[in-house]
Structure formats: C-alpha cells, structure tokens
Amino acid sequence: MEPRVAYLWLIPALPLLAAGVGCVAPRNGRRLAAGAAIAAMLGALVLSCFALHLALADPSAHLVYNFRWFDLGNGAVRLGLLLDPLNGLMCVMVSLVGLLIFIFSLGYMDADENFTRFFCFLSLFAAAMLCVVVANSLLLLFIGWELVGLASYLLIGFWFHRPAAAAAAKKAFITTRIGDLGFLLGLVWLYDTTGSLLLYDGGNGVLESHVLGDLATQVLAGGLAASTAIGLLIFCGAVGKSGQFPLHVWLPDAMEGPTPVSALIHAATMVAAGVFLMARIFPLAAADQGLAAAPVHVLTVVAGIGAVTALMGAAIAVAQHDLKRILAFSTVSQLGYMMLALGVGSWVAAIFHLLTHAFFKALLFLGAGSVIHAAHHEQDIRNLGGLRSPMRATYATFSVGMMALTGVPFVFSGFWSKEAILHAASEWNVSHLPLYAGLAGVVLTAFYMTRLLCEVFWGAPRSPAAAHAHESPAVMTVPLVVLAVGAVALGFLGTPAWPWLQSQLTGEAVPAHSLLEGGGLMALSIVLVATGLGAGWALYGRRLRATAGADDPLAAAAPRLFAFLGARMKLDELYAATVGRLNTFAAALAVILDRWVWGGAVGFLARFGEFTGSVNRGVDEGGLNAGFDSISERIRGAGRAYSRAQTGETHGYLRALAVAFVVLALLALLGGGQ
C-alpha cells in the first residue's frame, strides 16, 4: 500500500479551503477571494501532477487508502481514496482546465458586483468535482456528486436577477436530481447486496472480481442479473449529470450562467462526471457481458442512449441561433459520443475523447465568452459578424477549437479521439447502428460549426455591438492560447501509432499500429467531415449574411443547393422528422417509462412521467421553461388540493381522525381474518 495516497485528500481540500476564504471574505475583498481560488487551483494542479506521476509508475495497480467512517447496524461504513492512471489524468485535467477558467474569469467577471461570491462558488464546484474524482467509495463519490449539483445550482443561477437564470438553475438541479434518484437507489441496493461501497478494497471492493462474479450470477425476476439492475440504476445518475437523452434538457438552459461557468460545467467538470463515473465502474457495468441469457446488458443500453444523444444533439445544434446554445447542444452530442464509446466497450476511447473534448470545448466556450464580453453580451449569431479582424487572437484560437471539434484530420486532437470511438463502434459485434449514428453526427458537427464560424467572425458587423467590438484583455486571451495548444497537442497521446494513453489507462501494453490501419473507416470519416464543411461553407461562407434580419442562408440559397440539400422547407421537414419526432418520441417514451417503472408502484408517480416528458417538450417549444413550469404547476395543483382539505374547521379535523381510525382498524381486522 502506497502511504502517499492518503494525502490525496489535499487535492479537493485546497479548493474547498479557498471556497471558505471566499465565503468569509468581505464583498470588496476581490483580490483575496480570487487570489485564494487561483492559488488553490494551482496547488491542486501541482499535487495532481505528482499524483499522476505516482500512478503512472505502475499503471496496472489501483492504489487505495481506505478508512472507517462510522458504524451502521452490524457493519461499518468505510470511505476511501483511490489513485490510478484514470483518475490521475482526470485530476490533472480538471485542475488545469479549472485553473485556466479561473484566470479567464478574472477578466470576464471583472465588472460584476458579486465577484468574491463567484470565486467562492467556483472553488466549491472545483472541490466537489475533485472529490468525485479521487473517491474510492461510491458513497464519497455520491457526496461530491451532490455537491457538484448544488454548486452548479448556485453558479447557473448566479445572475439571479434574470428570471431565466433562476429557472434554469432550478431546472438543472432538479433534472439531475431525477437521475441521482436512480443513482442513490443503486447505491443502497449495492450496499444491501455486497455490504460495501468501496470500489477497490484488496479483493473485497465492488469492482473486484469475486464480488462482481457474485453480483452477475445473482439473478432476479426476468432473468436480470443483479449487476445489470444496479449498473442501470447507477447509469441513471450518469444520464442526468452528463446530459444524456432524455435528461439532457437542463444542459442548454444552463447557458444562462456566466460564460466561464458554462465552460467549467460543459467542458471539464459536471458533464464529464457522468462519463467518468461510468468509466470508473466499467467492470461493474460490464459484469453481465458473459451472460448470454440476460434480456438486456448495461453496456447495450449505454451505447443506445449514447448514439441517440450524439445524433440528436448534433441535429438540434444545426437549427439554433444562440451562440452558447449551439455549443451546448454540441456538448450534448459529444457526450453522446463518449457514452457510445463506453457502451461499445472502449472506455479508454471515451476517456480519451473526454480529455480532448475538455480542452477544445473549454476553448470554444471561453472563445465565445470573449466574443460575448467584447460584444456587450450580444450572443445571437445573427447580430454578430465581422469579428475576424478586430479580434484576431480570439478568432484564431476559436478556429482551432472548431477544427478540433469538427475532427479536421491529423493535426487536431478531436480527430484522433473521434476516430478511436468510431473504430471501437465498428468493431462492436452487437449492432452497427451506433456507428452509423456516429458517422451521421460527424457530418452535422462539421456543418453547424462551419455555420457558427461564418456567422460570427466573417462578413460585416450586423449590429452596433458587433461593430464596436475589440479584442479582450490578455488575462482572457492567454488561457485561450494555452487551451488551443492543448487542443492540438493532446491528440498525439493516443494515436494508433503511439497508443501511450491507451496503454497507461489499461495498464497493459497496447501494440502500435500503422496510422493508416483501418484506413477505410478513417477515409470515410474524413470524407464526411469534408462534406459537412463543404455544405456549411456553401450555405453560409460563400454568401455572407448581410443584415441581422435577413433570412437564414439556407432559405435564400441558390437552386443548385436546393437540388443538393433540399429547400429550406425540406430541411424543416427533416428537422421535424428527426429532431422533432425524436423529441416527441422521447416525451412519449419518458411518459410510458415513468408510468410503468415508477407509476406502476404508486399511481401518483405517473405525474413524474409527465414532468420529465414535458420538460423534454420544452426544448422543442423553444420557450425556456414553459413546459417545466406548467408541470411543476400541475404538481403544485395536487398539493393545493391536499392543502384545501385543511379547511381550518376543527370538526373536520376530528372527523378525519375518527374516519381514519375506522379505516385503519378495518385494515387491521380484515387483514387479520382468522
């Protein structure tokens, strides 16, 4: 046992301390709060690097430090810290990206009156996320997980004076809590079955082979293995946090928070937590793979959800006008890719993509933040334009991020990680549908990112705000440059020719292949990227939008394009046929699922089905919270009905007492028929 692992607690503790400092700092103690937060992140980064170094010394080992927390009934609840290459890498990523975002925030939030509180919340968020990463106990992980949710609530609703922000914060918290409900249930079940929540515990942890063997062979009603049920329940938590279909709805709305928050949530931390969780418990999720008789495997479900999310997110992103919202749907789509990779069995590819995505998506969000900051909080892409020359640094770095996300071949990291996912999907022997969904997503991604770049940076400014924009200060551009370097360089850690990342993560030597092995698939995806880029350029780049009020170029495009892609009407139909129907289907599915799964137990819970269902519909309606509010209104209506029974009349109360007694007595008497 490596004694130094016990010091892992310092990594989350440092930002937590900074959060405490920010909490007690006076409102004008801006330098104190920000300084503490940044210093703490820097410290966490240094410690993470040490930890990674330690982990890489023996990649196949899981270094743990477990301790007894308290006694519960006959057993004891134990917590623990874990170090292996997976969470070593995550620690470094979270603290590095977090640090850059903190620095960026110095500039972005400069004018905000609640500057100290913002850094307090940011630090709390980072601490919670790091706690998730270093946990060797699902219970500790869950505590961090909930704190991540709480901090995200505080951050998304940071600009509380905007009603949309407050609503979005509530929606994010509650939607993810619905997923967490499944997670918690899975935890309790797991504890009930195995008596432990430690991941690795010298052979007795829940991820170690003999416990997994027990779980997989314990068959419930319907031929379901216990590990399948538990795995699916835990996956619910990941679905909520990682914005997977059908709980993705909170993610686009979460854009109401300040942009650094969007970057933090959508790039490095909160959404990554779900993918990380699934990668962490991958042995548990894969435990039922050997059971041919099982009606469903966890990984199959994960792959399916991932594929649907990847395609749906990309399709919706095509039709958005809000700069951050396009990026948000893009995040949904990319997270779908990661889940897809997990589902087809390659958690390494998922983590690879998670790491590269963290960099280029943080880059894109911070770039967007730079644009929004410069354009006085204008974020409708129809009102921007022409920012290429005044904002050269932002434009250059944003382009790098865009190409990385699109998967422009060979140079950019996104290409390699996406290739790894597609490659894994092509080798999956259950179905090729995820592969096709992934390939279709590639085209759409290239298309909408081209559209975004053209609309924002090219052409002439289409509003006074855009016309007066100028470059952001260095405190904001320097993080962009650092991230851009990462977005390029990180790809080379996992190329087929030098699979360093893969071999470190799995702890086994992975043979190097020629770059061009499996060239057919690679060629296909390059063609698809080119198609997407070309289509985007043809529609948006060739003829730049002239005024903010002009129709979308898709509508005004030349007849040749009509022949190629179909008229705008046809695109709308396509949208309705894919996204629209998908969404309607999702709503219906959610209703049915919830009626049967939850509502089956107690009739009341069917309301939850409508709840998630119409939250889902809310996306399509475009109204930010129309659906959410109407359904929570309906639940409140039920509450009001109960509340009306409280008439204030004492006679009514006494009568209720008597009647309740009679009913309960009958229950006890007739139940006890002798």
Binding site: D71, D192, G672
Partner: protein, 487 residues
C-alpha cells in the same frame, strides 16, 4: 414488597432537577424579580432554566442504567440518548425564546417549557402503560398551554384550542386502546404484555387497541391522516412553542412508540409484503407512513406561509421516520434516533431563524425572507444549513438520517421486500421536496431585500443557539458515529 424509593429517586433525578428548576423560576419571579421589566424577567428565568436543564443533563449522563423501580422505567441506551436529545433540544428552544418576542408572563412560560421537557423525558423511559399515559398527558398539556400562550393574537388561541381538542380526542383513543390491551393481556407492564401477546397471537380486540394507540402516536408525531392540527399550530403558536412541538416532542414521541410497538407487540407485527395483509400492526404503520410522505410533500408545494411549509415538511419527515420505526425491529433504533434528533435540530434552528426575524418585522410568508443574506448573513447562513439538512443534501446530518433509515428499511428484505417500496417512494418524493426547499433558499440567499428592509440585529444568545444547532448538524453529518455509536 418494599418499594425501592432510592432507586426511583436516582432514576428520576433529571426530572426532579427540571421540576425544581421550574418551581425556582416561578418562585424567584414572584419574589425577587417582581419589579423588573418583562424582558429582564425573561432573561433571568431563561438563565435559571438553562441551569436546570444542564443539571438534568449531567444527571442523565451519570445516572443509573437498566430497568428502574420494578421495571416501571427502562433506562436503556435509547432512553438515555432520547433524554439527552430532549434536553439539548429544550436548551436550544430556550435560546430561541431569548430572541423571540417577550411573552406576557415570562416566568410562567419558561416554567411550562420545563414541565413539558419533564413530560418528554418521562416518555422516553416509561415502560408501563399507566406511566406512558401520564407522561404523554403531562407533555401534551404543557404543549397546549405553550401553544396558546400569546394572548394578544387570536391565532394563538385558535391554534391551542385546535391542538387541545385534537389531542384530547387522540388521548381518549389512547386510553381506550390501553384499556383493551389491559383487558386482553391482563397486564400494564410491557414485558408481561409482550409475553402474553406472543402466547395469544393477534386477537381482533388487540388489533383495534393497537390502531387506537397508532391514532395517538400519529397525533403526537404529526403523521397523516392525524396531522391536521400541525399546520395550524405551527402557524399560530408562539415561535419557541412551535420549535419545541416540532423537535423535542417528536423525538420523544418516536422513542415512546418504538418502545411500545417493538418490545411490547413484537409478536403482533404482521407482514407488509404479503399480498393479503397478515394480521399485525406493521401494515397500518406502512399505510400511515405512505400517506404522510405523499401528503406532506405535495401539500408543502402549495404553501406560501413559511411556518405552514415547515409543518408540511414535518409531516413528510414523520412519514420517513415511520420507516425507521418499521425497521427498528431488525436494525435497532439507531437510525430512527439519528434521524429524529437531527431533524429536531434543524426544526428548532429553522424556527429560531423565524423568531429572530420577527424581532425586526414580519416573517409570515416565504417572501418575507427575501434578501436575508443582506439583512443578516448569519441568519441566512444558518437557515441554509437547516434547510439543506431538511432537504437531505450531503454531507449534512439530514442526508445521513435519510440514508441510514432507508438502508435499514431496505434491509427488511431488499428493494422489493417489505418497506422497500416505501423507501423508493420516500426517495422519489425527496426530489419533490427539493423544489420547495429551494424556494425558501432562493428567497433567503438570492432574492433582493425589500426596499424598506433593515438589517436584523440578532441577540447574542440566539446567535449562539443557531450557530450551535447548525454546528451540530454539520458535525453529526460529518461524523455520524457520534450518534450512531451510542447504541
């Protein structure tokens, strides 16, 4: 037989301390402090009372263990822990009263609080039906008086009358139930009743008697459908009284009835899982639990009054605590005690914040909390801890209360087993609960204060009380072994 008066005195030393304290408060007030202003008299009375509570606490801690006075009292771990819990909650209530509006007869008010605590302490240890009935009545009568203490407000009188009539009827049911138990088993001592019940099995009259006991139980802990008094009383009663009713009274009630149901009627449990309910009291408790969970959580959503919201949330918590009662037979009372006592801390704290706010104006509706973080960061911070603990957000104590109780409930036979579906219901409804707790938090932490809102000055004693309650919640949350390890 020569009665063991010395043993009785030793066992009842803490109660004696409280009664002596109450008499001292009254006597000093009538003689020495008669000429002082009301606020001053309240302060002195509170000091004397706190001293009495501390003395009682020391005596509980050092006092004897095991059965006392021929088994009339049972001073086991649960009883000692509950007595200490009641004393801590009473002390916090006294601290809350320091910051509340001065009652018109401060000494009498404080004395009745001490009498109520005496009754609650006895409830925790009583093991004989007669003593159970008397201690329950002592506590209830004191609480009725406390609820109606504010003569200036008609709401207070109305709340007390409703509380009294509802409680009176519940105790009539209880007495009738006890008479039937006495008739069927021929004894009023719990151990002998238990032996007799296991001999006889579930007799229909016994079942009826148990349901009657359940009525009184439901009344005491505000479980649906016997909760109807609770929202009105929480709203109408003076704030420290509401704090005591919501916390210490609930804790003692759960301890008393767990003792009554498990060791006393273990043989008549029944089975909640079987498709056709077997004879027994467990299914009825399950029904009451489910009703409380549903009704409490849903009705809380519709509230605009802060106190009523707390009342409905208390009903929902009672539902979850009933799960702990059901599980106590298998897992012991530790999860139940942990949940009930930490819930009590959060409830006292929330009412303490309300009472501190009332000094600076109104605190009737949830919207009156607006801008609390500007008006008093201390109150806002403490309130956040209390509300988050009630909502069950880790790492606060509220989360571990839920966790241990649900885990214990699930241990009754897994997710599909008895009480499993109740645990699932409770977990699902905690998502709903989050919604209304967030509404409170949003007002307190985020919303801007009203234009005419002034900063709130919190008296030092109250501030200390609230910080202590919040600190205990955090401490027990981080280190649950402190409480769970008592058993």
């Amino acid at each position: 037989m020569n009665p063991d008066y010395a043993g009785l005195f030793l066992a009842l030393k803490p109660e004696t301390a409280l009664v002596v304290g109450a008499v001292a408060v009254l006597g000093l007030d009538l003689s020495v402090f008669r000429r002082h202003a009301a606020a001053e008299r309240l302060r002195l009375a509170l000091w004397v009372a706190s001293l009495a509570v501390l003395t009682a606490g020391v005596n509980v801690w050092l006092g004897p263990r095991g059965p006392a006075f021929g088994g009339v009292l049972m001073l086991d771990h649960l009883a000692v822990a509950t007595r200490l819990g009641v004393l801590v909650l009473t002390l916090l209530t006294l601290g809350v009263a320091r910051g509340a509006a001065v009652p018109h007869q401060p000494a009498e008010y404080v004395a009745v609080v001490l009498f109520a605590a005496t009754g609650l302490m006895l409830m925790a240890a009583a093991q004989q039906l007669l003593l159970v009935f008397l201690s329950l009545e002592l506590a209830s009568l004191s609480l009725y008086v406390l609820a109606g203490f504010d003569r200036a407000r008609p709401e207070s009188a109305e709340a007390a009358l409703k509380y009294f009539l509802f409680g009176g009827m519940a105790s009539a049911f209880l007495l009738f139930g006890f008479s039937l138990i006495y008739g069927v088993t021929g004894s009023i001592e719990l151990p002998r009743i238990a032996a007799q019940v296991s001999l006889q099995g579930a007799d229909p009259l016994l079942m009826v008697a148990l349901v009657m006991v359940l009525v009184a139980f439901g009344f005491k802990v505000a479980a649906a459908p016997f909760h109807l008094w609770a929202p009105d009383v929480y709203q109408g009663a003076p704030t420290p009284s509401a704090a005591l009713i919501a916390s210490a009274s609930k804790l003692a009630g759960f301890t008393l009835f767990t003792r009554l149901l498990w060791p006393g009627f273990h043989a008549a449990v029944g089975n909640v899982a079987a498709p056709t309910f077997g004879p027994g009291w467990l299914p009825t408790v399950a029904v009451v639990s489910a009703a409380s969970l549903l009704l409490g959580n849903l009705a809380a959503l519709a509230q605009s009054s802060l106190r009523r919201l707390l009342a409905y949330s208390a009903i929902a918590h009672a539902g979850a605590l009933l799960l702990g009662v059901m599980a106590a037979g298998r897992s012991g009372p530790a999860p139940l005690f942990y949940y009930a006592s930490t819930y009590g801390l959060a409830a006292v704290g929330a009412f303490g914040v309300i009472s501190a706010m009332e000094r600076g104006g109104r605190c009737e509706y949830i919207t009156d909390l607006a801008g609390l973080h500007r008006r008093s960061p201390l109150l806002a911070g403490c309130l956040a801890v209390f509300i988050l603990s009630l909502a069950g957000i880790p790492p606060l104590a509220g989360f571990f209360g839920k966790f241990t109780v649900f885990a214990a409930a699930l241990r009754l036979g897994g997710v599909a087993g008895p009480a499993g579906w109740l645990a699932i219901l409770a977990i699902a409804l905690s998502t709903v609960a989050l919604y209304y707790y967030l509404i409170v938090l949003k007002q307190a932490l985020i919303a801007a204060p009203a234009a005419d809102a002034r900063p709130i000055r919190v008296p030092r004693t109250t501030a200390l009380t609230l910080v202590a309650a919040a600190g205990l919640i955090v401490w027990f949350g981080l280190d649950p072994a402190q409480l769970l390890g008592l058993f």
